[in-house]
């Protein structure tokens, strides 16, 4: 009886007090505006005795890095109301930054450490909430300031997108010069933004297809020394080169395993090429494919379990995947034309490739199971995709007919949406890029 009364009171209460605190308006917003985030990167304040040049150059590099992603739009410094000294003394006056439509703000200070090095401090602010989102300080030699700019860019990118970044990384590529007949090809290396450029080889021997080791100290590539095409290892630290294995045929198309302990490559003998994997310690090669067709361009998945490669075993040149021991071969592309240069993304979710169809080259991506193929850029000749360390951007080379010399070859990057294509500055013609992992 008592229970019935209580229930009746409860039901009555629900009718009498419908506006209880738990009932509130819900709004579902599913449409926004896809556009770059306006970000203000101020000059860094140089303390007395600190290097003023670094304080001015750091934010320029950071701003350019962020702008190149297509995700950020640096606010023109000429619009800034508050200067670096004022920020260092009083902190940001957020109202002034809102007035110039900045939604994120980067400030910093450079001080001279007692040992002569520079201490660079940066802060990332959310202008609307007036909160600091991130703040770090780095102490380094003055010569290393550009790397600090990349590391700060990485921190900003990661905090605002939630994803790993790629600014503190390098690109090794083939620098081309001279006439088309008798082209000189040298191994060159630079930061991902084209700075700190230098050559690793002198151009006396032809070099091709450089690939970074995951541990950064080694590059593997193909070179013609004494007219013998072989796969070589190049130690970035000491400049030493050594041939990888002694194979009876031509070896080419090398690529490291994700742990850096193995190199997978192709060997051609008697017109037939097969894929081999070699442990760098034992130097023992293991044959992974055994087919009368041409199997080449192998690339490991990031977990090291699978390998994607190109083969014409089905009649046309297509992409296949197989286990790391050569078993369980599956064809993943069935499109018209030819597929080549497959590269597994470091995120593991996509495989980039070159596709030649109907007289045009394309750079595309496809899921490892063969679904979701997308062609994201094209030109008269585009080839050799390589992934940024975070798997969001592809670098490749593009060749276009140009003037008397016949062609202009340059490196480009494009993000996965396919819209944000940028040229990577190089001193001359450039091909075959390979993007390094993040610097250690």
């Amino acid at each position: 009886m008592m229970i019935k009364k209580l229930f009746a009171i409860l039901v009555l209460a629900l009718f009498i007090f419908p506006g209880s605190a738990s009932a509130e308006l819900n709004v579902n917003v599913t449409q926004g505006t896809v556009e770059p985030l306006p970000i203000a990167v101020t000059n860094f304040y140089a303390e007395p005795n600190a290097d003023r040049e670094i304080a001015q150059q750091l934010p320029q590099v950071i701003g350019k890095n962020l702008e190149r992603t297509g995700l950020f739009k640096p606010v023109d410094p000429r619009a800034f109301i508050q200067d670096a000294a004022s920020i260092a003394k009083d902190g940001p006056r957020f109202g002034e930054w809102r007035a110039i439509n900045a939604q994120a703000l980067v400030t910093g200070t450079v001080t001279a450490a007692p040992d002569g090095r520079a201490r660079v401090e940066f802060r990332l602010w959310d202008v609307f909430s007036q909160q600091q989102l991130s703040g770090m300080a780095y102490t380094t030699t003055k010569q290393n300031w550009r790397r600090i700019a990349h590391i700060i860019s990485d921190e900003i990118y990661k905090r605002l997108t939630g994803e790993d970044s790629y600014f503190d990384s390098r690109i090794v590529y083939i620098a081309e010069s001279g006439p088309l007949q008798g082209r000189i090809k040298r191994l060159a290396i630079m930061d991902q933004d084209g700075h700190n450029h230098h050559y690793l080889t002198d151009g006396k021997a032809l070099v091709l297809t450089p690939r970074f080791s995951p541990n950064q100290q080694l590059i593997t590539y193909m070179a013609y020394y004494n007219n013998k095409p072989r796969v070589y290892l190049y130690n970035i630290d000491n400049g030493q080169q050594q041939v990888l294995g002694d194979f009876p045929g031509m070896t080419f198309s090398p690529r490291f395993s994700p742990d850096g302990g193995k190199v997978v490559m192709s060997m051609s003998q008697g017109g037939n090429s097969e894929i081999y994997v070699m442990d760098l310690r034992s130097k023992r090669p293991v044959r992974l494919t055994n087919n009368s067709a041409i199997d080449t361009s192998p690339s490991f998945s990031p977990d090291g379990q699978r390998i994607v490669f190109e083969s014409d075993r089905g009649g046309t040149q297509q992409l296949y995947t197989m286990n790391a021991d050569g078993t369980d071969v599956k064809r993943i592309t069935f499109g018209e034309g030819r597929y080549a240069n497959p590269v597994w993304s470091p995120r593991g979710d996509l495989i980039a490739f070159t596709r030649l169809y109907s007289g045009k080259f394309y750079i595309g991506v496809i899921r490892p199971d063969g679904s979701g193929e997308r062609l994201i850029t094209t030109a008269w000749h585009v080839e050799g995709p390589t992934w940024s360390p975070n798997g969001r951007v592809l670098a490749y080379f593009k060749e276009v007919p140009s003037g008397r010399e016949g062609k202009r070859v340059r490196l480009y990057t494009v993000d996965l949406t396919g819209f944000n294509e940028r040229e990577v500055p190089t001193p001359g013609d450039a091909s075959d890029p390979a993007w390094s992992p993040l610097n250690p």
Binding site: V34, F94, T417
Partner: protein, 289 residues
């Protein structure tokens, strides 16, 4: 006997003083020499130039200009700060595929040298010059069309006031009407809800290509002043905010939207304060990215 003689001597006999002093001097010399020469005792700056010490800098008290958002908003009219709502995303105007350079037929690309026939057949197949093949069907064009449709659909989504958005909002209204909270939503008219949604859409800036966009819906609880400015905004799932960097970035984007001067004051009917003084806004990017 010699050992017995030694035991018989006092610990610091006059005969031991000189050797002890020499030994002490020798040890001091060795110690000073080590300090001066061994690298691990006295590290040199250039030896660790590759190491970059990192410190975490916290927000200190030098930030003196922390004022409520709404007070700043009053000084900054929304029209001056907010971008024009009809502005399209700031992207490069075209993809390379749409304006391919005209191929110069007689000049084949020579990207990869062909030192031998073996390599030509194996490594550099894809580097061959393009040869138009008229016999082949136009499947690639279908693929291209599909790709362009994908891009078009993305562009189409960028328009804040497109028909699809209207249909979507109407569907949401219907869903709201059938919910237990319908009696409250019904007191906000459809046009009032559309107006609020449209305003929040303009303030919500998304970055393209976010990973796991289908799982990044963020609920923001708003506490609103009678003058329709936002008093406080909280992420409903604070646990995930600190555990998931992707979610945190998405939540920060949503918080920026509700704190945007363009959304303060919110486009709400002033006479229905009880209806909207506390509300939850779900920012769901799955249809956008």
């Amino acid at each position: 006997m010699a050992a017995a003689t030694a035991y018989d001597q006092p610990p610091f006999s006059p005969h031991m003083k000189l050797p002890l002093a020499v030994s002490l001097l020798f040890h001091i010399f060795v110690f000073l020499f080590s300090v001066a020469t061994l690298p691990y005792i006295s590290p040199r700056v250039e030896d660790d130039s590759d190491l970059i010490p990192v410190e975490i800098i916290r927000e200190d008290e030098r930030t003196t200009d922390k004022k409520p958002v709404q007070s700043e908003v009053k000084r900054q009219p929304p029209q001056q700060i907010e971008k024009p709502p009809e502005k399209m995303p700031d992207r490069p105007p075209q993809m390379t595929a749409k304006t391919p350079p005209k191929p110069v037929a007689p000049a084949p690309p020579d990207a990869v040298p062909l030192p031998s026939k073996e390599e030509k057949t194996a490594e550099t197949k894809a580097a061959q010059p393009p040869k138009p093949d008229k016999k082949k069907p136009f499947l690639i064009q279908d693929n291209q069309q599909d790709q362009q449709d994908e891009f078009k659909s993305l562009l189409k989504n960028l328009m804040p006031d497109q028909p699809a958005a209207q249909e979507n909002s109407q569907a949401q209204d219907k869903a709201a009407e059938s919910s237990p909270l319908a009696r409250f939503a019904q007191q906000m008219s459809g046009s009032e809800m559309d107006s609020l949604r449209s305003q929040l859409s303009r303030c919500w800036k998304l970055m393209s290509g976010a990973r796991n966009a289908e799982n990044l819906a963020v609920d923001i609880k708003l506490f609103i002043n009678p003058d329709r400015t936002i008093r406080d905004a909280q992420v409903a799932d604070s646990l995930r905010y600190y555990a998931d960097s992707h979610y945190r970035a998405a939540a920060d984007s949503a918080l920026r939207a509700v704190r945007n001067p363009g959304c303060n004051p919110l486009d709400l009917p002033p006479n229905k304060y009880e209806m909207w003084k506390v509300m939850t806004v779900t920012f769901d990017p799955r249809e956008m990215l």
